[in-house]
Amino acid sequence: MRRTRVAAAGAVTASLLTLVTACGGGSSTSDGSNDSPKTLTYWASNQGASIEVDKKVLQPELDKFEKQTGIKVKVEVVPWSDLLNRILTATTSGQGPDVLNIGNTWSASLQATGALLPWNAKNYAAIGGKDRFVDSALGSTGAQGQDPAAVPLYSMAYALYYNKQLFADAGISKPPATWDELIADGKKIQAKGKSALGAEGANLSENIHHVFVFARQHGGDFFTPDGKPDFTNDKVVAAVKQYVDLMAKDKVIPTGDAEYAQNQSVSDFAKGNQAMLLWQSASANLESQGMSADKYGIAPVPVQSGTPGTGTQVNSAVMGINLAVFKNTDNIDGAKKFVKFMTSDAEQKILNTAYSSIPPVKSVQSDSTFSSGANKVLKDTLATSAAALPQVADESQFETAVGTAVKELFADAAAGRAVTTDSVKAALEKAQQQMPTK
């Protein structure tokens, strides 16, 4: 009996210890090694119309890299709905890829975990120097005053996509340049029985990107200069209200869009049921849904008045994808080589063409491919009138809290409830109280 107990206790302790040690995998603080120099694991974000498309785009390039360096890259394309969770899990467990794509707006949040390789002067030198990249893209790679957590890979910006045929049917000759014009044009389109503008009311990230730009146009910001949340200042409240009012008051966004979160508004646009779409680098996506490039026009996102520029004339967030390296990689030199390869002139041209994004590398941006049609609008927006989302550690929480608030406000609007300055302020107040206090 006693021996049984002792044995049982021993077994329990042993298994507990094994588990606790296994769970402590994340505590490795080494700055990378070269223990397995022949392989790399790469998590790519889903940039094309589907994961299969991404694999087709990436594989030939990875084969080239293997030919040049002898390093085999195992790629996994991770859907957006999973990517941040996967990165968080990898950060916690220490069991992650060597190289990975991150949404550029997450840079500062992930930087704060300390899991990513900092791109100091030495590391940047290994990939050809920081000055190869344009400033707007570098502005979304981490908090100011710290070594960046990632390197820009693809740049994107919002634009107004409009259906040429529906505009012609409604007698509209040019795309709207201000919100008032957009609402007026919307009414003309609705008179012809089509819906005017699409939105993804239940998609938290989309909501954030739009209200951020509206806030800028009102001269407001969601964070104080020292990085504290400030969601209830009058300018921000007015901005959020103006966005939700596109559905609630101006009624140019159909109420059904309040529950959209799976890019249904892109499908509505591609099918020709909806005349306008505010989206980032949508060409490849529209193409895959059967809408050819001659069917739609592309114009800068409207402003309050005047033309896009800096300050209150901002009309897009700096969107894009950054390339990061996990600090605890066991192929640190190979990882840097891979980053250098992916940001090389040749690869930048191939990949950004495939994904209809803009290369963040200066020498490639001036290439003629990126200076015509849709690309010109996106490139000009990035160069002249796009602003980086707040580069603060709490950015990810901000996306969730405020994104949810806007989602709830859209739900109110859809249900026919009044959206007032007070109700917007109350929703933002609640969002602010959910933010971390430390």
Binding site: T4, S15, L16, G256, P436
Partner: protein
């Protein structure tokens, strides 16, 4: 190894040892008392690995300030004492208020869902007791929701609940004209009823299956005797069926309660990572408090509170329902 040796040596003596009311030698007693524990050991170890260890780690996490700054090396996260718990149960502040709201929504949802699952399941099982043409087919059909993979089933409901093209609005609004305009089911206040519908649809076949199995054990003579005494269908159900099903129902209700209260898949697939307030079930709420806001300490504290609540409910329930009954009934 040493512990198992005595038991193995004396296997041949076991029957005689067990037959004696007073064992003469100590090894016999060890064998008698130790064997059940020995047999339970593998299950116990696995249970420990799969359930207990994560629970202990979760509890430890709840006393730490485990935010994004520390997840990479969470041993280094500072101890925060009871701070996470204080935040969770401060019902005047937004975090606690939201948790309380979510808890109340979950309680209402669970009571309704379990009640309806049990009612529909029992009714169906009772009506299907008599043989008739197509009974087997109907039984199989009834079990389909339970057999379907959760994700596939719930995503189908998402399509049906869509505002613009959903089947539900098509039937309620376009065909039957019950509503003035198409309703929203996946956002706003109706989301509670959407969630309840899916939960009952998914849960009642299990109640049906268990009650049906329970009914097989009720001797037919009881009903015949009751019929001879002039008892109608309702009286037969009340006086024979329900009392005979009592032990089955006790377990069934408890299991349904725990599953429904903790259900994560249904609301998550239905609403995504931020559920509408009206359908903010506690499991998704806690997920959001930890994963989406990257505050694993507070999330763990909420989980521990949930665990304690469920423990208390289960304990009280078992105490009340098993009191004064023979062990064999349990």
């Amino acid at each position: 190894m040493t512990t198992t040796a005595p038991a193995e040596q004396s296997v041949d003596k076991t029957p005689s040892g067990a037959a004696h009311p007073h064992p003469r030698r100590r090894p016999g007693r060890i064998r008698r008392i130790g064997l059940p524990y020995l047999l339970l050991l593998p299950a116990l170890l696995l249970e420990l690995l799969v359930h207990l260890v994560p629970m202990v780690i979760g509890t430890v996490m709840s006393f730490k300030e485990l935010t994004q700054f520390y997840i990479r090396d969470w041993g280094a996260a500072p101890w925060s004492g009871l701070d996470n718990y204080k935040v969770s149960v401060d019902f005047d502040a937004p975090v606690g208020e939201a948790l309380l709201h979510s808890f109340l929504v979950t309680v209402a949802f669970t009571l309704l869902s379990v009640g309806l699952c049990w009612l529909i399941g029992t009714a169906a099982a009772v009506f299907m007791q008599d043989t008739f043409r197509g009974r087997g087919l109907l039984r199989a059909l009834f079990l389909v929701p339970y057999a379907l993979p959760v994700y596939a089933a719930v995503i189908t409901w998402v399509f049906m609940f869509q505002h613009d093209n959903g089947l539900v609005n098509h039937v309620l609004h376009d065909q039957l004209h019950l509503t003035d305009k198409p309703s929203f089911w996946l956002i706003g206040d109706n989301s509670f009823w959407a969630l309840l519908t899916v939960s009952v649809w998914k849960g009642w076949p299990f109640a049906f299956l268990i009650v049906m199995a329970g009914l097989q054990n009720i001797p037919g003579e009881l009903y015949e005797a009751a019929a001879l005494d002039g008892a109608g269908l309702w009286q037969q159900i009340r006086r024979i069926t329900l009392p005979s099903l009592r032990p089955v129902n006790q377990v069934l209700l408890l299991v349904l309660f725990l599953w429904t209260f903790n259900d994560f898949n249904t609301p998550y697939v239905l609403f995504g990572r931020s559920a509408p307030e009206a359908a903010d079930l506690i499991s998704v709420h806690i997920y959001q408090a930890s994963f989406v806001t990257w505050n694993f300490g507070t999330g763990s504290a909420m989980s521990v509170l949930l665990l304690l609540f469920l423990l208390v409910v289960t304990g009280v329930y078992l105490l009340l329902t098993t009191r004064g009954r023979k062990p064999a009934d349990v």
